[in-house]
């Protein structure tokens, strides 16, 4: 059984963006500034990643102007939610097949070894080439 990890989501920063937006109820939007605060990203980096997700139709952004202040709201589209669901399912297939305990409570990403050759082999088969 093979599973493909969507290369657009399978990048740490974009995965965090999509996961954060997916925690909101369907149809709700998050301001650019709050998203930036939550993720701890620079505005430039966040803009670049949002643009890639926007181009793929995974998010939509709207700008509103209140006097001189401009506010950008970001929403995960239904296409983006479906993509995250498919991505999550692909992860389950990949990791479930290896019978790996995915997220031991309290572990951070850094604490999880990236050196498991079995996992890497699966990832190579499963993912398409794309640089972040």
């Amino acid at each position: 059984m093979t599973a493909e990890l969507d290369p657009l989501i399978h990048v740490p920063t974009r995965l965090r963006i999509v996961a954060t937006l997916a925690a909101l109820p369907d149809g709700d939007a998050l301001s650019f500034t709050r998203l930036q605060d939550m993720l701890g990203l620079t505005p430039g980096n966040l803009i670049i990643q949002l643009r890639k997700l926007d181009d793929a139709g995974y998010i939509s952004s709207t700008k509103t102007r209140n006097g001189s202040a401009q506010k950008t709201m970001v929403t995960l589209t239904s296409q983006g939610r479906a993509a995250l669901r498919a991505y999550t399912q692909a992860l389950r297939v990949l990791l479930g097949g290896l019978d790996i305990d995915v997220t031991p409570p309290g572990n951070t990403v850094d604490e999880i070894s990236a050196e498991d050759p079995k996992v890497k082999q699966r990832a190579e088969i499963a993912t398409r080439q794309e640089s972040p």
């Binding site: 740490p12 995965l15 995915v102 990403v109 990236a114 190579e124 499963a126 972040p132």
Partner: protein
């Protein structure tokens, strides 16, 4: 030779790391967006136990029952309820910062309805007092009746809003209030203190579990 051969997209970002990051990010976002935090619910458990327990301590020896509550118990209740209101407003404000949309508007409507329900539920005790109701009735009413009425009405409204956790909490509050009412004016305070404490602790535990559950491993 291609240097990137054998690496995953994201520069060595393997599926296990991705799963951990997805879970961590989802948990952080759930915590950030929820107006019902386990900490707040646990704090409410302490509040109801201390407030209703304090009332029970000050009325339990009354023979006959007069419904007179000690000044210290009232002072403690006022302070804790004020802190609870402030903390609730802060948590709701923090959760909703930068969020807009239909679900957010629905939550704001819910908040307005329930704020009005709590105010009306307790405000009608004043005319009741001035109408000269008996002390046992006066003692029972502030303890059980508002919680029974608000609990049942709130549970129905929460269900209509599809807020199932809130509907469950409010229904449990109504059940505890009904059980407390059967224990008589003095005993009702104790039942409310213990029962509501258990309800809020249960809700806190459930909310904590719901926030922590993995999205990758169901």
């Amino acid at each position: 030779m291609d240097d990137t051969a054998g690496t995953t997209p994201g520069g060595g970002f393997d599926p296990r790391q991705a799963a951990a990051l997805l879970d961590t990010s989802t948990r952080q976002a759930r915590r950030a967006f929820t107006p019902l935090t386990p900490t707040l619910l646990a704090f409410r458990a302490v509040v109801v136990l201390v407030v209703f327990g304090g009332c029970w301590l000050s009325v339990r020896g009354q023979r006959p029952y007069t419904g007179h509550i000690s000044g210290w118990a009232i002072a403690v209740a006022v302070v804790l309820v004020a802190i609870n209101i402030g903390a609730t407003a802060w948590v709701i404000g923090r959760a909703g910062t930068g969020v807009s949309g239909p679900a957010q508007r629905k939550w704001q409507a819910w908040t307005a309805i329930m704020t009005a329900a709590w105010i009306i539920g307790y405000a009608i005790t004043a005319p009741l007092y001035h109408a000269g109701v008996s002390h046992p009735a006066w003692g029972l009413y502030p303890a059980s009746a508002p919680l029974l009425i608000i609990g049942l009405a709130g549970a129905a409204i929460a269900a209509a809003f599809r807020y199932w956790l809130l509907a469950g909490i409010l229904l449990a509050i109504a059940v505890v209030a009904a059980a407390a009412g059967l224990r008589g004016p003095a005993g009702s305070w104790l039942i409310l203190g213990i029962g509501l404490c258990a309800v809020f602790l249960g809700a806190a535990a459930f909310t904590a579990w719901r926030q922590r559950r993995s999205v990758v491993r169901p």
